[in-house]
C-alpha cells in the first residue's frame, strides 16, 4: 500500500522570486505616484476640477496597494491570514468611532500595527491595504488611502524587526517617525482626491493653514504632520500594551516574533 505524503514540500524559489517582483512593482507604483504628484504640484488643484491629478493619485496608489496584496497574501501562513480579519475589525471599529468624534486623530491602524508586530512588514503592508479596501465596503472614502495604510503597516513591521518594541519607550518614538512618513505620503491623496480632509477636526486645522495663505497641498501636508505622528505614536503605544498583555504562548506561535526576538523576554525589559 502506498503511503500518502503527509508533509509539506520546501517552498519553490521561483514562486518566491515572482512574489518579490510584485512587491517591488507595488512599492515602485506607490513611490512613483507620490514623486510625480509632488514634483508636478499640479496647478489645477484649486484652479480647475483637478480630476486628472485625482485619477493619477487614485490609480497609482491603488494599483500599488493591490500589487502588494497579490504579492503578499498568498504567501502568508494561515495563522496570519485568520488574524487579518480581526485586525480589520479593530481598525474599522476604532477608526469609525474616533472619526465621528471631534478628535484630530484617526486610531484606525491599531490592527494593522498589531499584525505588523506579530507577523512582519510584508503582512503589515498587506493588512493595511486590505483594511482600506474592506472598510471601503461601507465607507468608500478610505479607499484612496490604501497605499498610505500599507506603508504604515510595512514601517511598523520594520520597527518591530529592529527591536523597537523591545523597550516600551521606543514604541511611541517609532510610531512618531512612522507617522511623519505616512502623513506626508497620504497628504496628496487628501488634497487631490477630496480637496480637503474627511473629518471636521482635521478640516479645522487645514483651514488655519489656508488662512495663512498656504497652498492646499502644503496646508494638508502640515495638518498631516501635526495629526499623524501623534496618532501613530498613540497607536504604537496601544499595540505595545496589547502585545505584552497577550499570553507569551500566543505571540510565540509567530515565526517573525521568534526569529527577530521582537518582544522582550518575560523578565527583562518592559515592566512597570
Amino acid at each position: 500500500m502506498s503511503s500518502p505524503s503527509l508533509t509539506l514540500p520546501s517552498p519553490a524559489p521561483a514562486a518566491a522570486r515572482k512574489r518579490r517582483l510584485l512587491e517591488i512593482l507595488g512599492a515602485l507604483a506607490i513611490a512613483g505616484t507620490y514623486i510625480y504628484l509632488v514634483l508636478n504640484q499640479p496647478a489645477d488643484i484649486t484652479g480647475g476640477p483637478g480630476s486628472a491629478s485625482a485619477l493619477i493619485a487614485l490609480s497609482g496608489f491603488l494599483v500599488g496597494a493591490v500589487l502588494l496584496i497579490v504579492a503578499v497574501l498568498p504567501a502568508l501562513p494561515t495563522s496570519t491570514v485568520v488574524l487579518i480579519p480581526v485586525a480589520l475589525v479593530l481598525n474599522i471599529v476604532l477608526g469609525q468611532f474616533v472619526g465621528s468624534t471631534l478628535v484630530p486623530f484617526y486610531l484606525d491602524a491599531i490592527g494593522t500595527v498589531l499584525i505588523a508586530v506579530l507577523a512582519g512588514p510584508a503582512a503589515g503592508a498587506a493588512t493595511g491595504a486590505l483594511s482600506s479596501i474592506v472598510w471601503s465596503f461601507f465607507n468608500p472614502t478610505v479607499l484612496p488611502f490604501a497605499a498610505g495604510a500599507a506603508l504604515i503597516g510595512c514601517l511598523a513591521g520594520v520597527a518591530a524587526r529592529h527591536g523597537l518594541f523591545r523597550r516600551f519607550y521606543l514604541a511611541p518614538v517609532a510610531g512618531f517617525a512612522t507617522g511623519i512618513i505616512g502623513g506626508v505620503v497620504s497628504a496628496p491623496v487628501a488634497a487631490f482626491v477630496f480637496g480637503g480632509t474627511s473629518g471636521v477636526a482635521t478640516g479645522a486645522i487645514v483651514s488655519a493653514f489656508r488662512s495663512m495663505g498656504d497652498t492646499l497641498l502644503a496646508a494638508i501636508t502640515k495638518q498631516a504632520l501635526i495629526s499623524d505622528p501623534m496618532d501613530k505614536a498613540i497607536v504604537f503605544t496601544v499595540v505595545a500594551v496589547l502585545v505584552y498583555a497577550l499570553p507569551r504562548r500566543a505571540t510565540l506561535q509567530f515565526l517573525f516574533v521568534r526569529w527577530h526576538r521582537v518582544l522582550a523576554g518575560r523578565n527583562s525589559g518592559q515592566d512597570s
Binding site: 500500500m1 503511503s3 500518502p4 505524503s5 503527509l6 508533509t7 510565540l252 506561535q253
Partner: protein, 515 residues
C-alpha cells in the same frame, strides 16, 4: 503489526516555545481502527495538547518542539525538535484525522452563510464537484441530525447544534480517526445520549474514536480503553471496568460523577435555622418581572433574536419571582436551558433591571445604582472567566482595585488569602490566559473572594472545572457561607446543586416556586 493501528504516537517530550518544562513526557499511544478510546486527565494534564498534536492542529516546529514520532496511515514521521524535522501538511493530515475542539464555534470558518456550505468547506478546498458535494453534505447532515438546519446561518445555531456542526465538519471527509475534546461538557442527558449513539455508529463503521475528557461521564464507561494522563505522562491505562474498580489509581484531577442516589434535602436543618432567624435578609427579590422589550426598532436584529429563541413568542423571561436569602445560606437554582437562569442572576447586581418589582441588597433597593457600586456587595462570577481577566499575572489580577479601597498592606494580605483559598498560591506570577481552563475559573473566583462581598452569585460554577477545581470551589463556597456570605448559584448540574445547597429551587417557565 504496525499497520494494525490507524494512528500512533510516541512522544518522548513536547514543550511549547519558551517553556522550560515539557507539557508531555513519555506518552506512547496507538489507536486501532474501529475502537473507542477515552483519554482522561485533569485540567492542565496535557490532554488537549496531546489531542491537538495527534490531529495535526498543533504542528511540531511551529507550535512547539517535539521529540518522538507520529505514525499515520503507515507513514512514520520522526521529530527531534530541530529545523530539519519534517513539516506536517495539515490539510493532508486532516483528511485522515478529524478534530473537534472544546470551543466548537471557534472552529467554524466564519465565511459560510449556511450550515450546508460550512459542511462543504473542506470539500470545496479539495476541488470536489458540486453533485458529489451535495451528496456528501446530505449524508453527513442526515447522520448528525442536521438535515433540517442545512439552510440556516451557522451563527443562529444553539450550542449543541454548533457542536454537531463542528463534528460534521470533522467527519465529512471520512477520516480514519476522530478526536473530540470534551465533547460532553455542558450537554444535558439527552444530548450526551445522542452524541454517544453517533460515536457508536462511527466506531462500528471502522473509525477510531478518541474522546478527551476531564469528567468520567457515564457514556465513557462503554469505551474499549482508557488512557489516564497526569502531569503530562500516562499514569495508567486499561479497560474502564478495571480502572473503575480501583478508583485510587485515578488522579484526583479527574472528576467522578456525583452519586445520584442521596437525593434527600441536605442541611435542611441549616436552612430552617437560618430562615427562622430574625436577621435582615442579605438579598431579597420582590415579585420581580422581566421581559425583553418587544422592539420594532432594530428590525433585522430583533427578528434574528426572536427566531433564535424558537418557541418563545412572548418575550417574558421572569414572572413574579420572590426570593429571600439569609446571610450564610447557599441556594441553588436549577432549570432547563433557556429557562432564564442567567437572566435571573443578572438581576442580582443590577446588570438587568426588573420590568416591575424590586431587588433589595442589604435591605436597600438597588434600582438605578451603578453595577460597579453594587458589586461591592454582590460578587458575580460569569461562565466565561476570560472576559473578567485582563492583567499580566494572577496576583495583579486579584489585587486589582484593592489598593485603592483597602490600602497596600491589606490588599496584599487579601490577595494572598484569596489565591490560597482557590489553591493558586503557586501560580501567582503566571499569566492568567496560560492557566488551564479550571485555573482561570478559580482565579476569577479569587478576584471576587478577595473583596469578601456579603453576597456571592455564581453562573454555572461547575462547567470547565476538573475534579481538583471542583473540590476547591466547593470548599471556598462553603467557607464563604460559613463566614456569613449568602451564596446563589445557578447550574444545570443537579447532583452538584444537591450536594452543596441548603435550598434547591427550580426555575421553570419563568417562575420560581418556593423562593
Amino acid at each position: 503489526m504496525k499497520t494494525s493501528s490507524a494512528l500512533a504516537a510516541s512522544i518522548r517530550s513536547f514543550a511549547f516555545h519558551d517553556d522550560d518544562a515539557p507539557v508531555l513526557r513519555g506518552v506512547d499511544v496507538s489507536f486501532a481502527p474501529g475502537t473507542y478510546t477515552a483519554i482522561l486527565g485533569g485540567s492542565g494534564s496535557g490532554k488537549s495538547t496531546l489531542g491537538r498534536l495527534l490531529a495535526g492542529w498543533l504542528s511540531p516546529g511551529a507550535g512547539g518542539s517535539l521529540a518522538g514520532h507520529l505514525e499515520l496511515a503507515g507513514t512514520r514521521l520522526h521529530f527531534n525538535g530541530t529545523a530539519h524535522d519534517p513539516r506536517i501538511d495539515p490539510a493532508r493530515w486532516g483528511e485522515w484525522v478529524g478534530f473537534v475542539p472544546q470551543d466548537a464555534s471557534a472552529a467554524l470558518s466564519t465565511v459560510r452563510a449556511t450550515v450546508a456550505e460550512e459542511l462543504a468547506f473542506s470539500l470545496e478546498n479539495a476541488g470536489m464537484d458540486r453533485a458529489a458535494m451535495r451528496e456528501a453534505v446530505e449524508r453527513t447532515a442526515g447522520m448528525l441530525g442536521l438535515a433540517g438546519l442545512l439552510e440556516r446561518h451557522p451563527g443562529t445555531l444553539s450550542g449543541g447544534q454548533l457542536r454537531c456542526l463542528a463534528i460534521g465538519c470533522a467527519v465529512i471527509l471520512g477520516p480514519a480517526v476522530l478526536v473530540l475534546d470534551e465533547p460532553f461538557a455542558s450537554l444535558d442527558t439527552t444530548g450526551s445520549g445522542e452524541l454517544a449513539l453517533l460515536l457508536r455508529k462511527l466506531v462500528a463503521g471502522g473509525t477510531a474514536v478518541v474522546v478527551l475528557s476531564q469528567v468520567i461521564e457515564e457514556v465513557l464507561l462503554e469505551a474499549d480503553g482508557w488512557i489516564v494522563l497526569d502531569a503530562g505522562s500516562v499514569a495508567v491505562s486499561g479497560a474502564p471496568a478495571e480502572l473503575m474498580a480501583a478508583p485510587e489509581r485515578l488522579p484526583t484531577g479527574i472528576r467522578r460523577p456525583v452519586a445520584n442516589r442521596n437525593f434527600s434535602m441536605p442541611a435542611s436543618g441549616a436552612a430552617a435555622r437560618l430562615g427562622s432567624g430574625a436577621a435582615a435578609p442579605a438579598l431579597e427579590l420582590r415579585s420581580v418581572h422581566f421581559s425583553y422589550p418587544a422592539t420594532a426598532g432594530r428590525g433585522r436584529k430583533a427578528r434574528a433574536t426572536s427566531g433564535k429563541a424558537g418557541g418563545y413568542q412572548h418575550s417574558t423571561v421572569l414572572q413574579s419571582i420572590d426570593l429571600v436569602l439569609q446571610p450564610g445560606e447557599i441556594v441553588a437554582v436549577t432549570g432547563p436551558n433557556g429557562a432564564g437562569k442567567s437572566t435571573l442572576l443578572r438581576h442580582l447586581n443590577g446588570l438587568l433591571q426588573p420590568t416591575s418589582g424590586s431587588v433589595l441588597v442589604n435591605g436597600k433597593d438597588i434600582a438605578g445604582r451603578p453595577v460597579g457600586d453594587v458589586a461591592a456587595y454582590v460578587g458575580l462570577l460569569f461562565q466565561n472567566p476570560r472576559d473578567q481577566l485582563f492583567e499580566r499575572t494572577a496576583a495583579r489580577e486579584v489585587r486589582f482595585g484593592l489598593d485603592r479601597r483597602f490600602g497596600a498592606a491589606e490588599a496584599a494580605e487579601r490577595t494572598a488569602a484569596a489565591l490560597a483559598a482557590v489553591g493558586l498560591s503557586g501560580a501567582a506570577e503566571d499569566h492568567p490566559a496560560e492557566l488551564p481552563a479550571s485555573g482561570q475559573r478559580l482565579l476569577a473566583l479569587a478576584t471576587v473572594l478577595a473583596r469578601r462581598p456579603p453576597i456571592i452569585a455564581l453562573d454555572e460554577p461547575t462547567v470547565a472545572l476538573d475534579g481538583d477545581g471542583l473540590a476547591v470551589l466547593d470548599k471556598a463556597v462553603r467557607s464563604a457561607a460559613a463566614a456569613g456570605a449568602a451564596v446563589v448559584l445557578v447550574t444545570h448540574d443537579v447532583p452538584y446543586a444537591h450536594s452543596v445547597a441548603d435550598r434547591l429551587l427550580t426555575l421553570d417557565g419563568g417562575r420560581l416556586p418556593g423562593g
